[in-house]
Chain length 419, copies 2
């Protein structure tokens, strides 16, 4: 096997553990220097490949690379840049191959969600046609948990843990205050199309310790009357309740509930979240005092409360990607295959990219309770192992010691390319 | 010394560590059963005393009481209920004394902020006049960090740590995304009158690792042009920035910046936060893509990332309150006295309640940089030790094991009392 370099890029919204995948990948590649020369990372994702802005990861020490395991965000920069279809912009794909050729790159590792799986597949197909074979391997990552075949997606478990813990803590808080003050706490979480993250809020309530939690899923059309009745019921029983609302919740008119056409005093349009909208509905409908929060980036960046399952799996996916490459695989993605729930066991599997690309895994219908406001036992069984275990970063002076890499540029060999 | 029971109540907004004070207090009292009989807690704070709704804490095991140390919120319920002045409602104070008398209570421990310090002082004064002497001791607690004499207030350090860690993590996130997507992240934090909590966001930037952070303090009148210029400057230098905004930031017209007279599509008034307002200002003024979050209750309930300094101090305050009582003190509050910064050392001190009540400690002017958007070295020196150390709760199946006490009611001896 002729020695080739590898290219690695991070794609789309970052997570608390995407760097753990980078860590697994780079550490494993470094153990096989006879086959994989250098690992070049794309600065700001695939844009780095198109503009030939490559990072030489070999310039960073073993210690710095190891610290990626406990550092959230994308250490090399990510991007929201969808490669067009081959028909629409063949030039982009050809440019990729040209850059790979110029830097003797034989391995393409792309770390992302559905879109990047599709890009990965196309690069593999085109490289064959162009007579410069590239082994293209997709490394799964998405807080949305919507990739098919794999049991779950690295990045999701840590968001789920953050939301479960935060929901539990906020519910304890509102329980203390409800006698004379706040009775309803509304927490807005990510999830435009699927309610995976919102579902995690349901984990805060257990058989041993029931908590009054109402979940608003994007899968369930918002019904104001039923929602208010449920909140009212819980507040009457417990004295308080917590509402976990997915940003993607829709009204019956097919619009996002968050889209209320808000205008400021001067008539300017204002962009608000869905949490204040739901809070106002509670106030107007039941006259209850409320508080609301919006977790936004905090939820997906919260490496301080990452799930150990998630960190282990993210690392394993990066490691497996290199191992697959070494075995000669192409156009594949490592997957997490669940072996058993109790005790939780999983192993690394392999999926063909042709079966991953353009397939979105939605939350099964039997994961949502009949009333539409909670999670079923089946959902709980699925989610519970994913938030298991803690994996704390090291601290200094009260702050987590997250690493910033040197990110030294590889000298360019080609001319400019207009994006 | 005749054996007397003790009364303990939690007041105002709860924190991640107010139960650690309860733990220190109850555990210490249990070691002196020859002098302090039982510790009765007020259900929902002082309301529990007025309505004779007392909780017998002796019904909970040593293990359950020990778990209070790592449980956020107020285990006995808190309340927002300000006792009126003696002149306005002498009946309330007399009722308190009557309840204390009926249950042989000789110690009044009140765990709260400025208002409860004032109530505590009044109870002590009135009890003397009424010939039923009560030793009234205030246990400091407030995320607002605005009590005088004590160097800092239990509850604040953990919020500060949560905001510092979250700001760091969100800044790493936006750094990864800025090339093609979000360039500004806006985080709304608590603090209606003082910028202590917002200041903690500044800790995310250190000498070793500078982060582009803009802080909006309630102490500094919001100036749109200067703010946009600062954001623009940082985005040009770093590619991104994080704005930490205090909920209490005011415009030049003396109104809260959050109060934008928002109306929905039907013309109904909507209550929004200040984060979306600031985000919209960034969008309109600079055309930059943004995200925003509102930490709300998550910040003060986040026991999972509590500061060890804070937990230790909260416990020590509860313990000292009992020790002061045993020594015969009355109308006092234990304080945290800073001995040195490096290494951080502190000891328990004592303040007279007459000097605590109705005095609000504001953030010193020299804690804010001249441009109004950052913290000074002096501020950093003050804040840094308060977020030091981690004190993780125990976990089971991925969730913190927070305790719910039995909260068994003490049989009533008196008639009803109308609040």
């Amino acid at each position: 096997m002729a020695k080739k370099n590898a290219f690695y890029a991070q794609s789309g919204g970052v997570t608390a553990v995407i760097n753990a995948s980078a860590c697994g990948l780079i550490e494993t590649a470094r153990k096989h220097k006879d086959i994989i020369g250098k690992v070049y990372a794309g600065r700001n994702g695939i844009i780095g490949a198109l503009t030939e802005d490559l990072i030489d990861t070999s310039k960073d020490t073993a210690k710095a690379i190891a610290a990626l395991r406990h550092t959230p965000s994308g250490a090399f920069g990510s991007c929201r840049f969808k490669m067009k279809s081959l028909e629409e912009n063949k030039l982009q794909y050809e440019r990729l191959i040209e850059v790979f050729k110029a830097h003797n790159i034989g391995y393409f590792f792309y770390n992302g969600g559905g879109d990047s799986a599709d890009t990965c597949l196309k690069v593999s197909q085109l490289s064959e046609k162009m007579g410069y074979p590239i082994q293209a391997i997709h490394v799964p990552k998405t807080v949305d948990n919507d990739l098919p075949i794999t049991d779950n997606c690295p990045g999701f478990g840590s968001v789920a843990k953050y939301i479960a813990v935060s929901t539990l803590e906020a519910t304890f808080d509102v329980a203390s205050m409800c006698k004379t003050s706040t009775k309803v706490f509304v927490l807005e979480v990510m999830g435009r199309h699927a309610g995976w993250i919102a579902a995690a809020g349901g984990l805060a309530s257990t058989k041993d310790a029931e908590q009054p939690i109402v979940i608003l899923f994007p899968e369930v059309t918002f019904n104001k009357e039923k929602f208010l009745a449920r909140v009212d019921e819980l507040v009457k029983k417990f004295g308080y309740c917590t509402v976990v609302v997915s940003e993607g919740v829709m009204s019956a008119d097919g619009k996002f509930l968050a889209d209320q056409g808000l205008k400021d005093a001067f008539g300017h349009a204002q962009l608000g979240g869905v949490a204040p909208v739901v809070a106002n509905i509670v106030r107007e409908g039941l006259g209850l005092k409320y508080h609301w929060g919006v977790a936004d980036y905090l939820q997906r960046a919260a490496r301080h409360i990452a799930s150990k399952s998630d960190v282990d799996q993210a690392y394993a996916m990066g490691k497996a990607a290199v191992e697959f490459a070494l075995k000669g695989h192409n156009s594949v993605m490592p997957t997490i295959d669940r072996v058993s729930n109790a005790p939780y066991k999983w192993k690394v599997g392999m999926a063909q990219l042709s079966k991953v690309a353009n397939v979105e895994k939605m939350m099964p219908k039997n994961f949502i309770t009949k009333d539409g406001f909670g999670i079923t036992e089946k959902c709980r069984e699925y989610l519970a192992p994913l938030i298991k275990g803690e994996d704390y970063p090291p601290y200094k002076d009260g702050l987590p010691q997250y690493v910033r890499l040197k990110n030294v540029a590889v000298p360019k060999k080609l001319g400019e390319f207009k994006l």
